[in-house]
């Protein structure tokens, strides 16, 4: 049997379609007992289709137990009557404890249509949306927007149910302006009938239609997804704007097109912004050019606004705006942006920033008072950088300001210049430490000040920019330290977790060094000596732990060493120790690996807990020396060896 569900809804926000479909597919599949479903969505419909549904559930049988064998006839007759069978149909069987009257009850499976009719209305209203509304009044159902029609078919039959006065049926609805308001559909002709009514059900096909525009535009996948989910019959059109607007910064023009108008930018052969755009309409074409003209006029107004703001902003230089930041709150508990500016500038200086770096820090937040940033907040920093350049600041200052909000994510690149990197680190570090100090600490999914992103950005810049910073000193607060360490782990998530644990346990004041150690560890991990040596170190650590606090390591006394495996381990270890210094990490690790036979032999033949306390003390000291000397790259005891995993 086939299944078709179409929830007809007023325009669903584009970014919510995927989540709704994921839920609906799984939920319907579970109820209908099918694993392969097809889900589709347009702004006005959520669609689930499936084949191979059972007409009804299989019949079931179970044995019902009645009175004991010796029960009075009345009780037996009563049991039979209650079960709706004649007394002679009962059997006497043992239930394992006693002989009893019983009978096998047959329950016919319910019709799938009945199951769905009961389950669907509940299941539909449980669709998780980030923000729902109720309608038509208090106590009404909650959904993303009002549901206006429902198609629910099992085979050819309507699965009857109702949500907020809307009865399920077999009638769908077409494109708002180009299609019929109501028309019947079947499982077989569903896509075709919708197509006749200017609705393309398949998102892949809508995407292909958008991609088919003759103008070559810069493909921006998130924008493309948005447009696929905003349209039922997408048709791209190409418009143009006056070339004189190209004198405005490309960043401003692209932002207006991308974020305010949902247009694709067009580049010329040299990769420069061209005076064109691609808009995606929800229509079948624009033969008279009315839509193009309308969009061009809107863009012109937007660009005029931007130019108006740009010109107005030039009347006051960034440097003269810094004092105005005293009126802009950074955060109630953390004071104004002027105070933040001063802190960040001081931090840049302390971290070794030069005059340009400090100047960039002083000007970095001044663009928050400009009209253009008030209008296009997503351009903060970028606008500051552009203004700095236009106002005669050095290129280094301008670039540092321009980049200082970077990286916006793990995937984004870090600021291009050292000054920009340092400014970005200082700005983020100030926010991070300030918020923790004020008790504004992220918990669970709540991170209103984006501190995770800030900390992540610092880690990324330090590692990828190759910065040597006194992290231990900068992150003195233990809570900040712990929070930051989480971000360090996240940054190194492509390494095996035990290698990361091992490397971090040997210190992480210098993250560039952590990465080098990790790379060396990963290379050496697969060599034959590595894991056995790691296991040996784990054993050493355990022995020392068991020795307890009364054991105090001193100097190894070679005279107390027992000739054979013990002296051999001592001489091997001291030999390796002496040649480590000039080696790169990989070489160091390999050298440590070469101690394997000596370590193995030692544990094979030597009893650490010797009866003579002096010998015992000396052996523990030897092990302690090994642990101390050879754990600076990684704490090998953190390595999960294959024998442990079994």
């Amino acid at each position: 049997m086939t299944f078709l569900l179409e929830i007809g809804c007023e325009e669903i926000p584009d970014w919510m379609l995927a989540g709704a479909l994921e839920y609906l597919g799984a939920a319907v599949g579970k109820v209908a007992g099918v694993s392969s479903l097809r889900t589709d969505a347009t702004p006005r419909r959520l669609v689930v289709r499936a084949e191979g549904l059972q007409e009804r559930e299989p019949d079931s049988e179970d044995r019902v137990w009645g009175p004991a064998k010796g029960a009075p006839a009345g009780a037996v007759a009563g049991f039979a009557k209650k079960q709706g069978v004649a007394p002679e149909q009962l059997e006497v069987l043992s239930d394992g404890k006693a002989e009893k009257y019983s009978y096998v009850r047959h329950t016919p499976g319910r019709a799938m249509a009945d199951i769905l009719s009961e389950a669907l209305p509940v299941l539909i209203l449980k669709t998780p949306f980030p923000k729902t509304m109720y309608w038509p009044g208090k106590g009404g159902p909650r959904f993303i927007r009002p549901i206006r029609w429902i198609v629910a078919l099992a085979g050819d039959a309507v699965i009857p149910f109702e949500i907020a006065g809307v009865k399920s049926g077999n009638e769908s609805s077409g494109h708002r302006r180009l299609g019929a308001a109501r028309f019947p559909v079947t499982y077989g002709d569903y896509e075709q009938r919708l197509r006749e009514n200017f609705v393309i059900v398949s998102a892949a096909e809508r995407r292909a239609r958008i991609r088919a525009v003759p103008t070559k535009y810069k493909c921006d996948n998130p924008l493309l997804d948005t447009l696929v989910n905003l349209t039922e019959w997408p048709t791209p059109i190409t418009g143009a704007f006056d070339e004189e607007f190209l004198s405005l910064p490309a960043e401003v023009l692209s932002t207006v097109m991308r974020y305010h108008q949902k247009y694709f930018s067009v580049e010329d052969a040299d990769g420069r912004l061209a005076a064109k755009f691609v808009a995606v309409t929800n229509t079948d074409g624009d033969p008279e050019g009315l839509i193009r003209k309308g969009n061009e006029r809107v863009l012109r107004a937007r660009f005029n606004d931007a130019r108006f703001f740009w010109d107005a902003d030039q009347k006051k230089k960034l440097a003269d705006r810094v004092q105005d930041l005293a009126n802009v709150t950074f955060q109630a508990k953390l004071g104004t942006y002027l105070e933040k500016t001063e802190r960040v500038a001081a931090l840049v200086k302390r971290l070794g920033g030069d005059a340009n770096g400090v100047r960039a820090a002083q000007l970095s937040k001044a663009d928050l008072t400009t009209e253009l940033v008030k209008e296009f907040t997503e351009l903060q920093g970028i606008i500051g950088g552009l203004y700095a350049r236009a106002q005669g600041e050095t290129e280094e200052v301008a670039t540092a300001i321009y980049d200082h909000y970077k990286p916006a994510s793990m995937e984004d690149s870090i600021p291009r210049t050292p000054a920009g990197q340092l400014l970005s680190i200082a700005d983020k570090l100030d926010t991070l430490r300030g918020c923790f100090e004020a008790g504004l600490i992220p918990s669970g999914s709540k991170d209103p000040f984006a501190l995770r992103r800030a900390a992540q950005g610092i880690v990324k810049i330090i590692v990828e920019g190759g910065w040597k910073l006194p992290l231990g000193e900068l992150l003195a607060d233990s809570q900040v330290r712990e929070f930051f360490l989480e971000r360090v782990r996240h940054y190194f998530r492509d390494f095996a977790y035990d290698e990361v644990n091992a490397a971090l346990a040997s210190g992480w004041d210098d993250l560039v060094d952590v990465k080098e150690r990790l790379l060396a560890l990963r290379e050496v991990r697969t060599t034959e000596n590595f894991e056995p040596v790691a296991a040996g170190f784990k054993r050493i650590k355990n022995i020392l732990r068991q020795a307890g606090p009364e054991f105090k390591a001193g100097e190894v006394d070679p005279a107390l060493l027992e000739p054979g495996p013990e002296t051999e381990l001592y001489s091997t270890a001291t030999g390796v120790k002496d040649r480590l210094a000039p080696l790169p990490y990989r070489g160091k690790l390999e050298a440590i690996g070469e101690m394997r036979p000596a370590i193995d032999l030692f544990f094979d033949r030597v009893m650490v807990n010797a009866s003579d306390p002096a010998v015992r003390q000396n052996r523990l000291t030897l092990l302690h020396m090994m642990l101390a000397e050879f754990s600076t790259i990684a704490d090998f005891s953190e390595i999960v060896t294959s024998t442990q995993e079994k």
Binding site: E11, M133, W135, R176, R177, L178, A279, E288, V298, N304
Partner: protein, 296 residues
């Protein structure tokens, strides 16, 4: 090509034919048609209601001395309230555009998510901005709460930005070039408003006086809300005049804000003060005995 006033006539006629009471603008200054008692208070309670009216809306911070072709201190909204929302509300709305002579089969219409919230009124809803050929011409909102109270019947609020809509229909780039009535441009009617209110709001408004006025209206609204709590004869209590004082506070706040007299930290606090008053009025309004009220 319809003139500005013909568009107003046309929309009023269209919605009047669909059961709306056509009101004239409210005579206390507001930032949006939503703040008018016709929307804010009538949205509350279980009685169905339909109304439409033009509301000049004052946004002191948006003033640009009449220099910017798209930004106005005072723009005109046509506000429609349909309570409860009819099932074909969007079709009815599209019909209003057709009634203005827009052939929707030749244009691109999209409903893009845009939720609405007015923190100083404790009001919010979900909805869309309606985009016509890339231009936002209407805000469409399903109210969920007013004055912090869940609404018994969910109204649809349709707010047309009249200047934008007219500029679109007349194909002009500046609102000042809109033809208000044959031979008269928008500039001739409104330029002085824009210039003089911008000068006042940004330059000449006396901040201590505005604060004083704010406090006077706040105190009066508070006093009245206190009286309402104590009075036995609630049915005839002047809640509508009380609400006028709340609106006065709101406009004074907006003016002070445009003047740069309110720091971001203070902002939250002042908004909270207005919200407490608005919530107080809304709660009293819902509770006020109904028989003395013509509607609601």
């Amino acid at each position: 090509m319809p003139t500005f006033q013909e568009i107003v006539f046309q929309l009023k006629k269209y919605w009047g034919e669909r059961g709306c009471i056509i009101q004239e603008p409210y005579d206390v200054e507001v930032g949006a048609g939503t703040s008018c008692p016709e929307t804010f208070l009538r949205a509350l309670g279980p009685k169905p209601y339909r109304t439409a009216y033009v509301q000049p809306s004052r946004r002191p911070a948006d003033g640009r001395y009449g220099d910017n072709p798209n930004r106005l201190y005072k723009h005109m909204q046509l506000q429609v309230i349909l309570k409860p929302t009819p099932a074909d509300v969007i079709e009815q709305y599209m019909g209003s555009l057709e009634a203005l002579g827009i052939d929707l089969s030749k244009h691109d219409l999209k409903l893009e998510e845009d939720n609405w919230e007015n923190p100083s009124l404790g009001a919010w809803g979900v909805g869309w901005q309606v985009m016509l050929d890339g231009l936002e011409i209407t805000q469409f909102t399903y109210f969920q709460q007013c004055g912090g109270i869940d609404l018994d019947l969910v109204p649809a609020e349709i707010t047309y930005g009249l200047e934008r809509l007219t500029a679109f229909l007349q194909g002009v780039d500046s609102v000042y070039d809109i033809e208000w009535t044959p031979g008269v441009k928008y500039r001739e009617v409104r330029y002085k408003d824009e210039l003089q209110y911008s000068v006042y709001n940004f330059e000449t408004a006396h901040v201590p006086t505005l604060w004083q006025l704010f406090e006077i209206h706040e105190a009066e609204a508070k006093r009245l809300l206190g009286l309402y709590k104590e009075t036995e004869d609630k049915a005839r209590f002047p809640l509508l005049p009380t609400y006028d004082h709340v609106l006065k506070c709101s406009n004074l706040f907006n003016t002070l804000d445009a003047r740069g007299a309110i720091s971001v930290t203070e902002r939250v606090g002042v908004i909270g003060r207005i919200r407490r008053l608005a919530v107080g009025v809304a709660e009293s309004w819902v509770e006020q005995p109904r028989e003395k009220r013509m509607i609601q």
